[in-house]
């Protein structure tokens, strides 16, 4: 239990640093911003209390906000993601449910399951984030294009990150 908590804190620091020091500087093709830090919320244990989930989402978003001077924007989007996560997990639940202590992991749940999980979650997060940033509907289609392309880029980068750093359990 304690080991799991330390791991989660470590993952939080790592994802925040990677996001603010690397991916915040990147802009593919002029308008695609990848955001990989929502992975932290997605990898939390399945049975985490909902209140704690919302609180952690808020803290994660706020930390990114403080680093990128976008006060409240990332917090709002990440809280939205935290709110949706129980519903998304329910939607994607395997026939015999989740294991009691499980966290959603790539190598346990299978590639296709995890891809669906990422696509739905990251799309919801980016949708909320980009429309909050623009805050008007006059550029509706352009913003939607940015959301879709950024979602695909973020998901791709997250999968790369998972294959690089989260593979030790593949052995058994």
């Amino acid at each position: 239990m304690l080991a799991e908590i330390i791991k989660i804190i470590f993952r939080f620091i790592l994802l925040v640093l990677v996001q603010v020091l690397l991916f915040n500087k990147i802009r593919f093709a002029g308008f695609i911003n990848p955001f990989v830090y929502p992975l932290f919320i997605l990898l939390l244990p399945v049975r985490i209390p909902k209140t704690l989930l919302l609180l952690l989402s808020f803290i994660t978003g706020l930390t990114i906000d403080i680093f990128s001077d976008t006060m409240g924007m990332h917090a709002a989007a990440t809280v939205f993601l935290g709110f949706l996560r129980p519903a998304i997990l329910k939607l994607l639940a395997p026939r015999d449910g989740y294991e009691a202590e499980a966290s959603p992991r790539l190598h346990q749940m299978g590639f296709l399951w995890f891809l669906y999980y990422l696509l739905i979650s990251i799309f919801a997060h980016h949708l909320f984030l980009f429309y909050t940033e623009v805050f008007r509907f006059s550029e509706f289609w352009y913003t939607l294009l940015r959301v879709v392309l950024s979602t695909l880029t973020s998901v791709l980068l997250i999968i790369v990150i998972l294959y690089l750093f989260d593979r030790q359990k593949e052995k058994h």
Partner: protein
């Protein structure tokens, strides 16, 4: 009453979600004003010192380019000092320097964090109130304008980049005095800006230089902002829209000067009086 509690306990997750979102949007609204509680931004000591540490390392990557630029600027400045100019006038009397008061002083600073890929971009500088920086000072480099100081802490300050959808800078052609407004949208990208309100009778061509005007309380007059890339007549109006190549490379800016306009308070007071008068009439 019992029903109310029942309703709350059934929907507590949704209600908690709405409350948290309310806090978030309150923060967003707060951040759109000047001078808010200056803790939760990148001028914060912890955040800024992380950026500072990282930029100390990454600065080495741009060292050659920065040296070249500083040398270039030195050469330009050296050309301006009287010692490097041939004197064609015969000096008959000495000019008393009491005629010239210092209007601008400059504070050197290093950019330790910079964004160019959002709609509203910000920079963080490694100088703050201790170095004499205050909110609403202009920020420039040897190549052009950068933005306006937003908040300061003791050792750091945040700057609203010109790459911001709310930016509006008064500019004019260097060769004549016709002026317009320079604005920016994320469609422009970090290397371009748009100039509006140039009347259709103004003569200019591609490659012409635009500089800042004296209208601005933030920037000194005559600082280059960019050159004309392309232009077209606004349909249905009598003015040109000009796409500008910005003279500053926002993507790799590292050393900047913060402009302290020593006469700003005096000018502001005078201009505010004007507003009072017109309101009373």
């Amino acid at each position: 009453m019992r029903n109310l509690f029942l309703f709350l306990s059934r929907n507590y997750f949704f209600i908690l979600f709405l409350l948290t979102e309310a806090v978030c949007f309150y923060l967003i609204a707060q951040n759109n004003t000047y001078h808010n509680a200056g803790m939760l931004n990148s001028a914060n000591q912890v955040v800024a010192s992380i950026y500072d540490g990282v930029s100390k390392v990454t600065d080495y990557l741009n060292l050659a380019e920065n040296n070249r630029r500083l040398a270039e600027e030195n050469a330009q400045l050296r050309a301006m000092i009287p010692a490097s100019q041939f004197d064609t006038t015969v000096v008959k009397s000495t000019v008393s320097d009491t005629l010239h008061n210092q209007q601008y002083s400059y504070i050197e600073a290093r950019v330790i964090n910079n964004s160019t890929n959002r709609r509203n971009n910000y920079l963080t500088l490694n100088r703050g109130a201790d170095a004499g920086i205050a909110p609403e000072m202009g920020v420039i480099t040897g190549h052009g304008i950068i933005g306006i100081v937003k908040e300061v802490s003791a050792h750091y300050s945040t700057v609203i980049s010109f790459l911001n959808t709310q930016s509006k800078v008064s500019v004019r052609f260097k060769k004549n005095n016709y002026n317009g407004s320079m604005i920016w949208d994320s469609d422009n990208g970090p290397t371009e800006a748009t100039v509006i309100d140039i009347p259709r009778h103004v003569p200019f061509k591609k490659g012409d230089t635009l500089v800042t005007t004296a209208y601005s309380a933030y920037y000194p007059e005559g600082i280059m902002v960019g050159t004309v890339k392309e232009f077209y007549l606004d349909p249905g109006s009598n003015s040109y829209q000009i796409i500008l190549n910005l003279s500053v490379g926002f993507n790799d800016v590292s050393y900047v000067y913060v402009v302290n306009n020593l006469l700003k308070a005096e000018r502001k007071k005078l201009e505010d009086n004007l507003k009072d008068v017109s309101r009373n009439n």
